[in-house]
């Protein structure tokens, strides 16, 4: 299956992508599809809603179908990607990971999502915005990358010198809007005034909850795509991701014969922080300074994946 039947001519790459959720999610998977479709290659194809237990099979099928480059969008797929890559040295793979994987095969590119670094400015922002001294981190599954996000936020708050406490909670599902709504209401009524979310679609529920509260007192931050229209009055910031640039760059490198590599997403390279209009200037300045500091290397965000609870 392909978007362009005529593709696959000489020198034209055939690229396949595998997504973990539906591409209609207006979030992580939609971003992926957008990046895939922006590629200027011979032929693209994708599978969506592929559960982790099925990933090896789908990878194998794409290999059998003769695709040149296969991209798995989501770090849960990395292990299988590396495994299949080792078995198929003639096919190129792009996997995603948080950090630097060990034993990366010759034919695998890694896109490092670098979440912890990107979350640091949110910690700075929260420290500035919080009046109650109590903020919350609302995640989906308690995975190592979400622990690293929490630690990065804590590091930023410590660096800011403010006395603010982070309360991490997990809804158990990145897309469960209902649980997110209920948890957010609870968090707010418990005095947390900034909610840093690390959810996919679930955040829509969080907006519903925060919209019930007083404007200017409570704030919400978002991951991946700009969802400010859900609650512009409480919207503080998005850490925006864009896979278009990184993917194109990686595919170009592969075409150029560079088959292995580690592409780190950074500010300006696939990631950015966008702030809401309502955010006060002081906070805005602090965030900009943090982004600046990370980019010029004066701030190093530690990758700490140890458990929080």
């Amino acid at each position: 299956g392909s978007d362009s039947e005529s593709g696959g001519g000489d020198g034209e790459l055939r690229v396949a992508a595998i997504f973990s959720g539906p591409t209609t999610d207006a979030d992580y998977n939609a971003l992926g599809l957008q990046a895939l479709q922006a590629l200027e290659v011979g032929d693209t194809s994708y599978s969506e809603s592929v559960p982790v237990p099925d990933i090896e099979r789908v990878l194998q099928e794409y290999v059998a179908d003769g695709y040149d480059v296969i991209w798995t969008h989501g770090s849960q797929f990395y292990e299988a990607t590396a495994k299949i890559a080792a078995q198929n040295p003639d096919v190129y793979f792009i996997g995603e990971f948080d950090g630097q994987p060990e034993g990366q095969p010759e034919n695998v590119w890694v896109i490092d999502r670098n979440f912890h670094t990107v979350f640091y400015p949110l910690g700075t922002l929260a420290a500035e915005l919080s009046e109650t001294g109590s903020i919350a981190y609302l995640g989906g599954l308690s995975l190592p990358f979400s622990y690293s996000e929490v630690h990065a936020v804590e590091q930023a708050i410590a660096d800011s010198g403010k006395d603010v406490k982070v309360n991490p909670v997990w809804s158990g599902d990145f897309n469960d809007t209902v649980k997110a709504q209920q948890l957010t209401s609870q968090l707010l009524s418990n005095g947390n005034d900034v909610i840093i979310t690390s959810l996919n679609l679930g955040v829509v529920g969080s907006f519903q909850a925060i919209n019930e509260t007083e404007v200017g007192k409570t704030w919400l931050t978002v991951k991946y795509t700009d969802k400010s229209q859900n609650g512009p009055d409480h919207y503080a910031a998005t850490v925006k991701y864009d896979f278009e640039g990184p993917l194109a760059e990686v595919v170009d490198s592969i075409e150029a014969g560079e088959t292995q590599g580690h592409y780190v997403i950074e500010f300006g390279r696939g990631a950015s922080v966008a702030l809401g209009d309502k955010v006060p200037d002081a906070a805005r300045a602090a965030v900009e300074a943090a982004v600046e500091g990370i980019s010029d290397g004066s701030i190093t965000v530690e990758l700490d994946q140890s458990e929080v609870e």
Binding site: G1, E61, L143, P144
Partner: protein, 342 residues
């Protein structure tokens, strides 16, 4: 021979009809139905890999179907195969990780037994509540599924988490915990043989042992069985426990044969597939493996349908629904036909 034809015909006819209706849906969505169905029917057989994947799926579907069918023989609905599978997987990885240094000859049996026991215990909770307190088994098995989701999340993120997985998963079990492989790579795991043997043994068990007979008797008429010396409530409980053990074995084989670890989501939709196979086989244990094979081909093929013809995954669900409905309808048609010709 004619009887066999009568048995197989409705399955074939309903699959065909379902494909016709599904094809219309695909056409309406602007995709190519011929291409889509071609990949559904050939993915499992075109490559050795496709076949291996199909057989591995078959193993789990068959076991989950038994997990549903055997309690059903005693009139009990086990809707808990996914919880039992997950707990079986938990038991299997626990042994496979804790005793990872043991040689295969010792470790592998322990892993499988741990899976079986864990599944049996999990279903045993429902069985106990049923026999002792009369708690409806549909209710308890459904609820225990939800409990098991949380339990394995805990195990996969706190007890033996694999930090690099990017997904809640445990670290890998020891080498000795893995099922041996048959033939050249890509190859089948030995769980396939185990399942075939088990299918034969279960068919004999239900047909020709006193306990198997009693189970069927209880399903046919509980009161009459009681009056004739069958310990009915114990048997209904036993049916659930055996079903749970098979669900647990499915989990252990997924660990030892497919993933080498436990990971969230590994229950996939095996619960529903198992129930469907059980219902399509109409409780006939001999038919279960064959129906399960058809479903495994369909499942593997379906996901390739979206790859090769870019048909949305949802359509597969709709086709599966159609197959079920047409299969039932074929009964009605057959009854009318026979009545008319008699």
């Amino acid at each position: 021979m004619r009887d066999l034809a009568w048995l197989v015909l409705p399955y074939v006819a309903s699959v065909l009809l379902a494909f016709v209706v599904g094809g219309l849906v695909i056409l309406a969505l602007g995709n190519d139905p011929v291409k889509a169905f071609e990949s559904v029917l050939t993915t499992s057989f075109k490559t050795q890999f496709g076949f291996v994947e199909t057989m591995h799926k078959w193993v789990t579907v068959v076991l989950c179907a038994y997990a549903f069918t055997i309690p059903l023989a005693t009139g009990k609905f086990n809707i808990g195969a996914e919880g039992q599978l997950l707990m079986g997987a938990t038991g299997a990885v626990a042994v496979g990780i804790l005793l990872s240094d043991l040689p295969m000859i010792v470790l592998l049996p322990l892993v499988l037994v741990a899976g079986i026991l864990a599944g049996a215990v999990w279903a045993g909770v429902s069985a106990f509540l049923l026999v002792r307190f009369g708690v409806n088994e549909i209710l308890s098995t459904v609820l225990l599924n939800f409990v098991s989701f949380q339990a394995i999340d805990y195990v996969a993120s706190h007890v033996w988490p694999d930090r690099g997985a990017g997904h809640p998963a445990t670290i890998r079990v020891g080498e000795g915990a893995l099922l041996p492989r048959i033939g050249d790579a890509p190859n089948l795991h030995a769980g396939v043989i185990l399942t075939v043997l088990l299918a034969v043994a279960l068919a004999i068990f239900m047909r020709s042992t006193a306990t198997g007979f009693e189970m069927r008797a209880v399903g046919a008429n509980l009161r009459a069985s009681l009056v004739h010396g069958v310990r009915t409530s114990r048997l209904a409980g036993a049916g659930l426990v055996i079903g749970g053990a098979l669900g647990g074995l499915a989990g252990a084989i997924e660990v030892a044969g497919v993933h080498g670890k436990m990971l969230e989501g590994m229950q996939s939709n095996f619960l529903i597939l198992g129930i469907i196979v059980g219902l399509m086989a109409r409780g006939n244990l001999v038919a279960v493996p064959f129906v399960a094979f058809g479903i495994a081909v369909l499942e593997v093929g379906a996901s390739s349908m979206q790859r090769s013809a870019q048909v949305p995954v949802e359509v597969v669900l709709i086709i599966e629904a159609m197959i079920l409905i047409f299969l039932l309808l074929s009964d009605v048609v057959r009854a009318r036909f026979r009545g008319a010709s008699a």
